[in-house]
C-alpha cells in the first residue's frame, strides 16, 4: 500500500500520525511541546477540567502547537449529562469540536461506563461534535456507538495508567474486524511494544499518556512510541505470513514426488 493510501481519516480530517497523546501526569507542562515534537503526534487530548483560561502560565492550551488537533476529554464526568455539559463547555472555551467522551463512575479502576457513553455520544454527535468515545471493548456497545454517530471507537487495552498492555486483545481484535470505524486503542499501553502490537492487529491508532508522561525521559519515550506505532502499522499493511504450530522444513521429504 502506498503512503498516500494509508492515511487515517477521522471526521473528514487526514491525520499524518497514528499516535495520539495525552497531556496529564507530566512533571512540568513545559515538556509537553517537546514531547509533541518528538512523538510527531497530531491529535492531543487534555482534560477540560484542567484547562485554566484565566491563567496565562498554567493554561495547557499554550503548550500545544497550533497545527495540532485538540481533543478535549470529559474526564471527571460521572454520567452522560455531565459529559455533555463538559463537551459544550469545551466548545465554548474555544477547544474546537472534537471531543473524547470519558464517562467514569468507578474511581477505583477508572473503568468507563459504556451505557452512559453511548447516550452522551448520541447527543453530542447530533450537535455536530466529532465524537471519540472511550469504552470497555464490547462488540454490542461498539455497534451502538456507531449508530450513535461516533467518529471512531476507543477501547481500552487495560485500565487507565496500569501500563499492562493489551489485556483485552481478543475483544479489540473483534472490534477491528467488525466495526467499520477507526479503532483507537486507548489506556493501558505501557511500552512501545504494546503500541506496536495494537497496530499489528489492525488498530487505526493508539492513544498514550501515562507511559510517556511518567517516563524518566518523556521526550525520548515519545519518539520511541512514534517509531513503534509506525513499525506496527507497516507490519500490518505488509500482511503477516501465516502462523503455524509446527515447523515447516525448507527441504521437504516428499519433494522427490514432484520431480
Amino acid at each position: 500500500m502506498c503512503k498516500q493510501m494509508d492515511k487515517l481519516v477521522i471526521g473528514g480530517i487526514e491525520l499524518d500520525s497514528r499516535l495520539f497523546i495525552g497531556t496529564g501526569k507530566f512533571p512540568n507542562k513545559k515538556v509537553i511541546p517537546n514531547v509533541i515534537k518528538s512523538s510527531k503526534a497530531k491529535v492531543i487530548t487534555m482534560a477540560l477540567r484542567r484547562v485554566d483560561l484565566n491563567s496565562k502560565e498554567e493554561n495547557i492550551l499554550d503548550y500545544i502547537p497550533k497545527d495540532c488537533i485538540l481533543l478535549p476529554n470529559t474526564s471527571g464526568a460521572r454520567n452522560a449529562e455531565e459529559a455533555v455539559r463538559i463537551a459544550r463547555l469545551a466548545k465554548a472555551m474555544g477547544c474546537g469540536n472534537w471531543i473524547k467522551i470519558e464517562v467514569i463512575s468507578d474511581n477505583k479502576y477508572l473503568l468507563p461506563d459504556n451505557f452512559e457513553t453511548i447516550k452522551a455520544t448520541e447527543i453530542l454527535a447530533k450537535e455536530g461534535f466529532i465524537v471519540l468515545p472511550y469504552m470497555s471493548p464490547d462488540l454490542m456497545a461498539a455497534k451502538s456507538l456507531v449508530s450513535a454517530g461516533a467518529a471512531a471507537v476507543m477501547p481500552l487495552g487495560a485500565p487507565i495508567g496500569t501500563n499492562k498492555g493489551l489485556q483485552t486483545r481478543e475483544l479489540i481484535r473483534i472490534l477491528i474486524d467488525e466495526i467499520d470505524l477507526p479503532i483507537i486503542v486507548d489506556a493501558g499501553i505501557g511500552k512501545p511494544s504494546h503500541a506496536a502490537e495494537a497496530m499489528e492487529i489492525g488498530a487505526a491508532a493508539v492513544l498514550v499518556n501515562t507511559a510517556i508522561a511518567t517516563a524518566g525521559d518523556p521526550v525520548k519515550m515519545g519518539k520511541a512510541f512514534s517509531l513503534s506505532v509506525k513499525a506496527g502499522r507497516m507490519a500490518y499493511i505488509s500482511k503477516f505470513g501465516p502462523e503455524k504450530n509446527y515447523a515447516q522444513a525448507s527441504s521437504p521429504l516428499t519433494g522427490f514426488l514432484n520431480m
Binding site: N28, R50, L89, D106, N107
Partner: protein, 367 residues
C-alpha cells in the same frame, strides 16, 4: 448499612497481639503483594514495618506516580466564621475558650475570595465552626454562591449535615466535603467531645456517606492524630476510606493526616505521633488504597512537607491563614490552630517545580 457496623466488628480486635506477632518478613510479603486486604494494611502499620519504611516508600512513590503522575493539587482553606457551640477539648474554637469570635459578611467573603484568587488558586476549602445560629446552612449556601464566582472548585469543612442539607450545598456549587471523625475510638470520642452537638459520634461517622449520597464529587476524611494510638486510628481511617470507595465508586475519596497542633485550649493527653509515624501511616494507606487522594496541610513544617512530596501526597494547601478573614481583613480574630508552613502559593509552586512536580491549580470546574 453504615461504617459503624464495620467499626463494631473490629472495635475489640486484639491489636496488641496482632502487632506482637507481626514479623519483618510478614511486612515484606505484604509490600510485594498486588492488592491488599485489611490485615495486610494493619501489617504495614505494625511496629515491625518501621524498619521497612524505605521499601514501602519506593512502592508508594511508584503507585502514586502511576495513578496521579508527578502532579500536586494546590488549594487553600478560607475561614469564614469561628463561632462554635461545641466543647471539644483539643480545639481552639471551643465554646468555652475566650477567643475573638468573628463571622464574615457576604461582602467580606467576596473580598477574601478576591484576594485569595489573585494568588492563582482555583480550589478553595471553606471552613466554619459549628453554630446553627451564627452559621446555618443558609449562610453556607449564600457564601458558596458568592465564592463560586472566583473559584472553580469549592470544598466545605463545616459541621455534619443531613443528606438533604448536603444536597443544598451541592446545588449551590460545593463539589467536595472534608469531614474528620477526629477519633474513631468511640470512648475517647465521648471523652474529648465534652458537650455540644458534636458529641453525636454516629451522626458524624455517617456524614461522609451522606455526602456521597448527596453526590458530592469528593470526600476527604481523617482522624486527628494524637487523640488516640495512631496505629488504630490510621487503621480505621483506611477502612473507612475503603468502605466509601467500594460503596460509592463515583466519589473520589481522599484522606488527610492531621496531627494535633498547638491551639488555645486545655487538651494535654496527647499520644505522640512523630514524623516517622506520620510517614508510616501515609505509606501504609497508599499501598492499601493506590487510587486514594492524600492531603498534607500546613500543620506540617516546610522541611517535612517538601520531603513528603514524592512519598504519596496528591494535595497540598498553600498560602494558608487559619484566621477568619485572614487574607483580607484588617480586624483580627483568633485562629483554630497555629500553622507551621507559612509559605505563599508562589513559593510552594516553585518548590514543586524544582522537585519535578507539576503544581495543579485547577482540576475541576462548575459544569
Amino acid at each position: 448499612m453504615s461504617f459503624y457496623n464495620e467499626y463494631l466488628k473490629l472495635r475489640n480486635f486484639d491489636f496488641t497481639n496482632f502487632f506482637r506477632k507481626t514479623t519483618k518478613s510478614d511486612v515484606l510479603k505484604v509490600i510485594n503483594k498486588g492488592s491488599l486486604d485489611k490485615y495486610d494494611f494493619l501489617t504495614l502499620l505494625s511496629h515491625a514495618a518501621q524498619s521497612l519504611l524505605e521499601e514501602m516508600a519506593q512502592k508508594s512513590h511508584r503507585l502514586t506516580v502511576q495513578n496521579f503522575g508527578k502532579t500536586m493539587l494546590l488549594y487553600t482553606p478560607m475561614y469564614i466564621a469561628n463561632h462554635c457551640v461545641n466543647k471539644c477539648s483539643y480545639c481552639g474554637f471551643n465554646v468555652t475558650n475566650n477567643i475573638i469570635r468573628k463571622k464574615l459578611t457576604l461582602e467580606e467573603i467576596e473580598e477574601e475570595a478576591k484576594v485569595i484568587s489573585s494568588t492563582g488558586l482555583r480550589h478553595i476549602l471553606i471552613l466554619t465552626g459549628e453554630s446553627n445560629k451564627e452559621t446555618p446552612v443558609s449562610y453556607i449556601v449564600d457564601a458558596i454562591k458568592v465564592i463560586r464566582k472566583y473559584f472553580d472548585a469549592i470544598s466545605i469543612e463545616i459541621y455534619p449535615l443531613t443528606e438533604n442539607e448536603y444536597k443544598k450545598v451541592v446545588d449551590a456549587g460545593a463539589e467536595s466535603l472534608t469531614i474528620y471523625q477526629e477519633v474513631y475510638d468511640e470512648k475517647i470520642y465521648d471523652k474529648v467531645h465534652i458537650a455540644g452537638p458534636k458529641k453525636n459520634y454516629k451522626f458524624r461517622l455517617d456524614a461522609p456517606e451522606r455526602g456521597c449520597k448527596a453526590k458530592m464529587r469528593g470526600i476527604n476524611i481523617g482522624s486527628l492524630l494524637g487523640l488516640n494510638d495512631w496505629r488504630k486510628e490510621a487503621f480505621f481511617t483506611g477502612l473507612h476510606a475503603e468502605y466509601l470507595q467500594n460503596k460509592y465508586s463515583d466519589t473520589e475519596i481522599s484522606v488527610s493526616l492531621p496531627r494535633l497542633r498547638p491551639h488555645a485550649g486545655s487538651f494535654n493527653d496527647i499520644y505522640t505521633v512523630n514524623d516517622k509515624d506520620l510517614v508510616q501511616i501515609m505509606l501504609a494507606i497508599r499501598l492499601f488504597l493506590p487510587r486514594i487522594g492524600i492531603n498534607i496541610s500546613t500543620r506540617e513544617n516546610q522541611y517535612l512537607r517538601d520531603n513528603l512530596i514524592p512519598l504519596g501526597v496528591t494535595k497540598m494547601s498553600a498560602g494558608v491563614s487559619t484566621e477568619v478573614g485572614g487574607h483580607s481583613s484588617k480586624t483580627k480574630s483568633d485562629s483554630q490552630f497555629e500553622i507551621s508552613d507559612k509559605r505563599s502559593v508562589e513559593e510552594i509552586r516553585r518548590v514543586l517545580l524544582a522537585r519535578g512536580y507539576q503544581p495543579v491549580f485547577k482540576d475541576w470546574m462548575h459544569i
